[in-house]
Symmetry: C2
Subunit: 435 residues, 2 copies
């Protein structure tokens, strides 16, 4: 395969050089952090009074972790390092797990951010001849404008179609020969369902690639989207606290997400002991952003569970690869005392051919016990009026989920297209137990 | 007053020089137009084979008009002057009056467009210390990203809040000390209603200015917004065929919209005879865009009815001022044989203190006759349970509308906040007559 690099020098930079680069940026960042009301006392308490006190990357560990709670406490200006007048934009998180947090940018921050997104997109094999339909929300959410700017930077024709309006999205793809899209994985599956329902043939669209992100999804979901739409799906990882998209992205090898280590320092910790886990093991991702002056955030506990691949990537990039993020530690459900992740159920469902593109998980109290119900759509070629094969399918789903999570779920089958569809991030879990 | 200019030299350029500038750009534009499949045959038929054939601005008149219908016929690439690979963005009109039309941009087009928006915003007295909340739809619609880029160009803190979610908008204004907003006039009125309904005090927001556009509105609506919110409202005019926002904008004098004549050539014609109207008279605005290479559009019939003020503006800008656009020729309603514009009814309603911020116009068949119903909300301080003053108000509205449009309407009063609110462009007219 011919690999292409947008920022060649830095993407294949030998790691010792990359670490020197990280150290220089970290030193600069600490100076910015010292100007914020949140970090100034914390850094001074840790004996860090200026960039001189950061002599190696190890000194990062002297700085305490920052949590989502800290960000909220610091609202609105506790993390701002420059005069408000020099800020040109703010973005706010979608508040997946609570109240929104706000990030400020100056012009240089935006330019750097755009560079990381451009590098990510280009690394999947796209170039200026591509037509890129950005099917994600524009505005306060970082996904829309972040991907948009990266696409324009490469010189692709960007269609700012935004989220929702599936029929129009398909129409735009046909009209303008869209070759690449960005969307949540659940929306990609929904687009495929709508195409099938409306009789839109695969030949009428020129789609080759999709970037899927903004919600965790399983390898089986990726495979399903790839097979149904006959495209390559690349995994994208970002979070608004770290700018948004452009944090980590799969290259053409599609085996893990290169985390751009010239822009970010990543640590993987045990969320209970807060100690680093051994190389390659799974833990909570902790991130420090090196590429933003205006809102420095150091050692941010993302709650996302992942780990690094230890072997090098065939593409030649030296930036380490994150494993697919299967969930946030916040996503973990405790059902009758057993820890389960929604992603475990998704894996089972998406690997089954007869099951449709949409599913929901419901948990209720049934006396003293928890009752777990999994609602899935059946495939579009199966009919609800023949109960025998349906009962067999139901039983197969039930058994496979039970084998995976040890809990025996109730399984409900629904007609294709009948479960509610969310146009942004999918809401899959309805925990109806009293708190 | 101290006037400030973003592009000083060109904003106060003496008209003879401005016209030389226009001629040069028109010549370049004709070369681009000759590369499009739509204009090439039309220009050649008019004897225009290259920029050399445009010797004066008068030669523009040799080129036939372009209509919305032509744009649709030319879909998707009939108006594209450069290879598709060089395009970096497309925007599509909201389809106010039919199927959407598509405009393509290269990087230079976007840079120039941003400059016109920045110039427009700066001319109202804003600067980099302002906090600008852009309460309009982002994505395919040009209003969101166009204003966003202009605001960032000036260095304001831009909050890309997008359309809708009024309560959150008010919250954002409070949290970040928003000093200027962009919205449709109907949404601004809605924001004020919500603030009042939720008991948000004027002192809790720092708002000073609003840019109102994307739908026609009357001077009385402007005054009502200004009084209720205690801000200055500046009128903005743009249309997606001419890039979007940044075509014409009010300066601090608030007496007409400076049309940026280094970027556009405007003509005012009689829509029936297609001949130019005498200086200062009202007619249909016809526009030629000089500041975009990728999608040249020449002599576009906007259907918007307006005219130029003839006296110079105290601000010193030499670019002529358009009068407030009170409606499109397409908006004209024929009711029992009488031509009326919805703006005539709006003027009456918005000038009355006891009337609320929202209204609708409904036309039905009643036998052979048309029946016009005007539904308005009453002011929030008036109560529905006392019928005597309400009947008097109803009668007053009926009489004033009749005096303005000669037709006797049915008037319905509704409780404050009870009529449907649209979050983008307001839908005011429901013509229920069979076609």
């Amino acid at each position: 395969m011919n690999y292409q690099y947008w920022h060649r020098k830095v993407e294949i930079m030998p790691r010792p050089e990359l670490e020197v680069f990280q150290l220089e940026r970290l030193q600069a960042l600490v100076d910015y952090a010292l100007r914020t009301s949140f970090y100034a006392p914390k850094l001074r308490a840790a004996g860090i009074k200026g960039s001189d006190d950061i002599k190696s990357l190890d000194d990062l560990k002297r700085i305490p972790f920052t949590t989502k709670h800290d960000l909220r406490e610091g609202f609105p200006y506790g993390f701002l390092s420059i005069p408000k007048e020099e800020v040109i934009r703010l973005h706010a998180s979608s508040g997946t797990t609570g109240a929104p947090t706000t990030i400020y940018f100056n012009r240089d921050d935006i330019t750097r951010w755009t560079g990381y997104v451009a590098r990510s997109i280009y690394g999947t094999g796209c170039n200026h001849t591509d037509v890129f339909q950005n099917m994600i929300s524009y505005g306060l959410f970082t996904g829309g404008m972040g991907f948009h700017a990266g696409g324009e930077e490469i010189g692709m024709l960007v269609i700012p179609s935004g989220s929702g309006n599936t029929t129009r999205q398909v129409r735009l793809m046909q009209d303008f020969g869209t070759t690449v899209v960005h969307a949540t994985p659940s929306f990609l599956l929904h687009v495929e369902s709508i195409m099938r329902a409306e009789g839109v043939s695969r030949d009428s669209i020129k789609l080759k690639r999709a970037f899927a992100g903004a919600e965790p999804y399983s390898e089986d979901t990726r495979r399903r989207i790839e097979e149904l739409l006959q495209i390559d799906v690349y995994n994208s990882y970002g979070l608004s606290e770290m700018n948004g998209p452009g944090v980590a992205f799969e290259c053409q090898c599609k085996n893990g997400l290169h985390l751009w280590e010239d822009g970010y320092i990543a640590e993987i910790i045990n969320p209970d002991t807060l100690e680093p886990v051994p190389d390659g093991e799974t833990g909570e991702l902790v991130m420090t952003i090196l590429c933003r002056e205006t809102t420095p955030i150091l050692r941010y506990r993302t709650r996302d569970l992942t780990g690094f691949y230890t072997e090098p990537c065939p593409c030649g990039r030296t930036h380490r690869r994150l494993r697919r993020i299967t969930g946030r530690s916040d996503d973990m459900l405790i059902v009758n005392g057993v820890n389960i992740f929604p992603s475990q159920i998704e894996e089972v469902i998406m690997a089954m051919k007869d099951v449709g593109n949409n599913y929901l998980i419901e948990i209720e109290k049934d006396g003293v016990m928890d009752k777990l119900t999994v609602k899935t759509e059946i495939g579009p070629d199966i009919f609800m009026d023949d109960s025998r094969p349906l009962n067999a399918l139901k039983e197969r789903i039930r058994k496979t989920i039970q084998a995976s999570i040890t809990i025996n779920p109730r399984v409900e089958l629904h007609e294709s297209g009948s479960l509610p569809v969310s146009e942004g991030k999918a809401k899959r879990v309805y925990d109806k137990r009293p708190r």
